[in-house]
């Protein structure tokens, strides 16, 4: 019995600063979406391959990583491995040589559209594709934007990350224009991350964010609290939902996952 028709969504997770919780967001979102009945592909576009750690996967050679997908002569066989013994969550792992590929893409025809072309010509069967992007805005992130149907931006409530997000929003608009993306991939949400209610600056900035988000016309999602359990979970290569199923922070991803799964059903 075929289920209700669903449409794939491709979500790029972008941040213009390191260590603000991109991979944490990617992994936990993936797991929550899986719980909601979606199949998910996680693609690690970060040469630092943090996704390997979070998914408890041994690192792979370039030919079994996303590098293979981006090479000129890709044969259509996506290198995917299941995460956490869950066949419905699959990972296309990263590799340090991604940064070299990125240089190569600059001079390649349709270089900015390579990932989009791959996803179009060799579609993945998953309901949701999540792109974990590097912290530096460049060719790889441009590829992610061109391939995405929507973007998510984690924002740590500290000045470095906040400034990075301001630049990022402008950059995304400019790049979408340059690449003539029609429709432009919308920023589906700002996700305050690593929130520590004991810090005055976090509390103040969290208060100011709704106004900023409203002016940008971007939805503001509930914050994700900081917890050492996230670090413990990733050290064990597990998402928090699996490592500490009863942890309160697990709920922080619910609204976001719910919205994304709705997009899958609606086909947008």
């Amino acid at each position: 019995m075929p289920k209700q028709q669903s449409h794939q969504i491709v979500v790029g997770i972008l941040a213009n600063a390191g260590g603000v919780g991109k991979t944490t967001l990617a992994v936990h979102l993936a797991y929550d979406l899986f719980k909601r009945g979606c199949s998910v592909a996680l693609i690690d576009l970060d040469p630092q391959r943090a996704l390997d750690v979070f998914c408890g996967l041994p690192s792979v050679e370039a030919e079994n990583s996303v590098v293979r997908v981006l090479l000129k002569d890709f044969d259509g066989k996506w290198p995917l491995v299941p995460a956490w013994d869950t066949p419905k969550i699959e990972v296309c792992q990263g590799h340090p040589t991604l940064s070299q590929i990125s240089d190569d893409l600059v001079i390649r025809r349709r270089g900015e559209y390579t990932l989009a072309d791959r996803l179009h010509n060799h579609p993945l069967p998953h309901d949701v594709v999540i792109l974990d992007c590097p912290a530096t805005l460049g060719m790889i992130c441009e590829n992610a934007i061109a391939a995405s149907t929507g973007l998510l931006v984690p924002i740590q409530l500290e000045m470095k990350s906040v400034s990075g997000v301001a630049d990022l929003v402008q950059w995304v608009i400019a790049i979408s224009g340059d690449l003539q993306l029609d429709p432009r991939p919308p920023i589906l949400g700002l996700v305050p991350s690593l929130y520590d209610s004991n810090r005055a600056i976090h509390r103040q900035y969290l208060q100011q964010l709704p106004e900023v988000a409203a002016q940008l016309g971007i939805k503001l999602y509930p914050h994700i609290r900081d917890s050492s359990e996230f670090k413990n979970a990733s050290a064990n290569g597990l998402p928090l939902q699996k490592y500490r199923p009863g942890h309160l922070a697990n709920k922080d991803f619910e609204e976001l996952a719910k919205d994304l799964s709705k997009l899958v059903r609606r086909g947008k």
Partner: protein
């Protein structure tokens, strides 16, 4: 406790960019809506036509690849999003309305259904249902109506197309049209009836006819004016802006067609004629060609072009002697050459100076004598 700087001001650039992008998206949507709203009659007419054709010959499946788009498609702005919407509906409900195509040999000219066709292509469909129509007799007129108010069309092509259409619909020959039009307009101008004529552009054909009857014009002239009004054109501006294009010399017509010279520039350059410059036809053409190239290469504005034309005309018509700074300076320099100075100078240099002076003297004598 020290105050922490607020974050909102960091976002000024992002706010602006967001607003701009939003505005652009709104404008695009607006354009598309206007295009659709512009032709409600057309949509209704197409519906009737589609039904008639279906009854006549039935529907057939046409290979998507054999269809080629109508270059005169009135809907110029088609966004990707609207095609996606249609693609989704095609996918969900299948094709409900057949396309209208015109068989052209083995291929089909798409008359109606551009977005369905594009959507089908994006879905990878091999064929679409269509009804066929014969090539309309007035394809030229329909194409013309589509393009006539398009400012990008070059004025020469526009003028020729209008003359052709008016000639087809009235029987007045193409050669006569400019003369008939100028004559009637001049008469109306003298009788101060031009405004009365202009006010007829926006009224119904019946009122146009009635309005023309009240003017002092012949039957041929009425036909001509009606035909222009019917195309939504102002006869006075047709004469001023378009018919003058037809009278342009060949070299300027060629520059419009091949080098993208603009109409207003061409009109300015056209006054560099043999008659105006009081020189031979050949020399006039040469001057015009050189000026045209200058206008195109330096991308001169209309004002600058007119300036250039005036300069050239002045050169030919009243070559007024002008006081030359160079000559004043040279004369002063020569005066400064005192005998003492010359005595002290190397002879070879003096010989050379004498040579130059002699040559210049000869030239001056020749000019003064001529």
């Amino acid at each position: 406790m020290a105050r922490i700087p607020a974050i909102s001001q960091r976002f000024t650039g992002a706010y602006q960019a967001t607003e701009q992008a939003q505005r652009i998206a709104e404008l695009q949507a607006e354009v598309e809506q206007l295009r659709a709203a512009q032709s409600p009659d057309l949509e209704a007419q197409l519906e009737v036509l589609r039904e008639q054709l279906k009854a006549q010959s039935g529907e057939l499946a046409v290979e998507v690849e054999l269809i080629y788009p109508n270059p005169h498609q009135p809907r110029q702005t088609i966004t990707h999003e609207s095609i996606q919407t249609i693609a989704r509906s095609l996918e969900k409900d299948g094709q409900i309305t057949p396309l209208i195509v015109i068989p052209q040999g083995e291929r089909y000219l798409l008359w109606d259904g551009q977005r369905r066709w594009e959507a089908a292509k994006s879905l990878g469909w091999k064929s679409l249902q269509a009804v066929t129509a014969p090539m309309p007799k007035d394809l030229h007129r329909k194409a013309l109506l589509t393009f006539i108010h398009h400012e990008d069309l070059n004025p020469l092509d526009k003028a020729e197309a209008i003359v052709k259409e008016v000639s087809d619909s009235t029987g007045i020959t193409a050669d006569e049209i400019p003369t008939v039009l100028s004559t009637v307009l001049r008469r109306l101008e003298r009788g101060q009836q031009i405004n009365q004529l202009t006010s007829l552009i926006a009224v119904t054909p019946e009122d146009q006819q009635k309005g023309l009857q009240q003017l002092d014009i012949s039957e041929t002239e009425t036909c001509l004016l009606l035909s222009l009004l019917d195309l939504g054109l102002n006869p006075a501006s047709v004469k001023a802006n378009l018919l003058s294009m037809l009278a342009l010399p060949l070299d300027l017509k060629k520059a419009i067609r091949e080098q993208g010279l603009k109409g207003a520039h061409a009109l300015a350059l056209a006054s560099l004629s043999a008659k105006n410059l009081k020189i031979g036809e050949r020399q006039a053409t040469k001057e015009r060609l050189a000026a045209t190239q200058e206008v195109i290469e330096q991308d001169l504005t209309v004002a600058k072009t007119r300036e250039l034309v005036t300069q050239i005309k002045t050169r030919y018509l009243n070559p007024k002697p002008v006081e030359s700074k160079e000559i004043t300076t040279a004369a002063r320099g020569l005066e400064k050459l005192s005998p003492d100075l010359m005595k002290a100078t190397d002879q070879e240099q003096l010989v050379e100076l004498r040579h130059i002076l002699q040559q210049k003297l000869a030239e001056i004598d020749a000019i003064l004598a001529g």
